[in-house]
């Protein structure tokens, strides 16, 4: 997914200015938020079947910071809070990891089952591991599908929520951009945005439980 917060057509601050702002804005509160967010994304990557190190959440958080520090990713301190920017970079990277994990698993599994040196026991172990991965991936896919269905349902009777969701589907994330594209006033945007996010708390109990159970299993 292209980085919608990395608009290079806007004249922004210079890299030294960004580095100074990073240093100043990287408070304990920001690091707490970013680390918690990274823990959730690390759990999703594990669920996708990619083995990750114990400190993977910290690695995601620090790499996001470093990518801005080095100028690989943009950040305009005047427009976007640092925690939102870092979490978006973590989301991007972990989504990439989830997709890579899917591809790599297929390649390594195909190579393994065609290896004549592989004994029967090892082949069974690989088969079982692949089934487990397929199982968790199926559950992730189910979670996504149910959330998408719930978002569609909300959008059906809520014009402003529908406008926001359409922006998300087309890759627009920044609140200011969405307000400009939709013509929603700030209060109207906030009200519709809150209605969408309340969905996270109103997911069917079995879906919430499934998500929690998945997290417990991978943590």
């Amino acid at each position: 997914m292209a980085d919608p917060m990395n608009d290079t057509t806007r004249l922004g601050p210079t890299l030294p200015d960004i580095q100074r702002a990073l240093d100043e804005h990287y408070t304990i509160a920001v690091r707490e938020t970013v680390h918690r967010f990274a823990e959730w994304r690390a759990a999703l990557v594990r669920m996708a079947g990619r083995p990750v190190p114990k400190d993977y959440a910290k690695e995601l958080a620090h790499d996001a910071y470093t990518s801005i520090w080095l100028g690989l990713r943009g950040w305009d301190p005047e427009r976007i809070p640092l925690d939102a920017r870092l979490c978006w970079i973590i989301k991007d990277r972990s989504w990439w990891e989830i997709r890579q994990a899917k591809k790599r698993r297929h390649v390594s599994f195909d190579l393994a089952i065609h290896d004549p040196a592989l004994d029967v026991e090892a082949a069974i172990a690989i088969d079982v591991a692949a089934s487990a991965t397929d199982h968790t991936r199926f559950e992730i896919a189910g979670l996504y599908r149910q959330v998408i269905a719930s978002l569609h349902e909300l959008a059906r009777d809520d014009e402003n929520a529908r406008a926001i969701l359409r922006c998300w589907a087309q890759g627009f994330v920044e609140h200011d951009d969405i307000r400009a594209l939709t013509g929603l006033t700030k209060p109207a945007f906030r009200a519709a945005y809150d209605r969408i996010l309340r969905l996270a708390k109103r997911l069917p109990p079995e879906l919430r439980e499934a998500a929690l159970e998945l997290l417990r299993r991978v943590s």
Binding site: E159, R162, L197
Partner: protein, 105 residues
């Protein structure tokens, strides 16, 4: 006639997007979009769900609560790692750049 009535909060202000002819089930997939074989939905629907998860997780992560000792250690480490960047040589920074480009960071 242009109807410019709006509520005090602007709650019902008309959206920029014309939605009268839109699919009432929500954002329409792009015409040539393929269905992801694992998720069984389109790329635009996946983007929508990913932004939803991002926004919901960010709000949840921002809610104040006491950190565990492990979290406190990680948070302190993150500051130390950030400070180390300032003292790295150009070669070390270049190596970091190469690593991040390889890992999609």
């Amino acid at each position: 006639m242009n109807d410019d009535w709006s509520t005090p909060t602007g709650e019902y202000e008309r959206a920029y997007f014309e939605t009268a002819n839109a699919d009432p089930s929500g954002p329409a997939p792009l015409p040539d979009e393929e269905i992801d074989p694992v998720f069984g939905v389109t790329e635009s629907e996946l983007r929508m769900a990913e932004v939803f998860f991002y926004e919901a997780a960010l709000e949840s992560a921002r809610e104040p609560r006491a950190s565990t000792p492990e979290e406190q250690e990680a948070i302190a480490d993150l500051r130390a790692q950030a400070d180390r960047l300032k003292t790295m040589s150009p070669d070390e920074l270049e190596a970091e750049r190469d690593r991040l480009l390889r890992t999609g960071g």
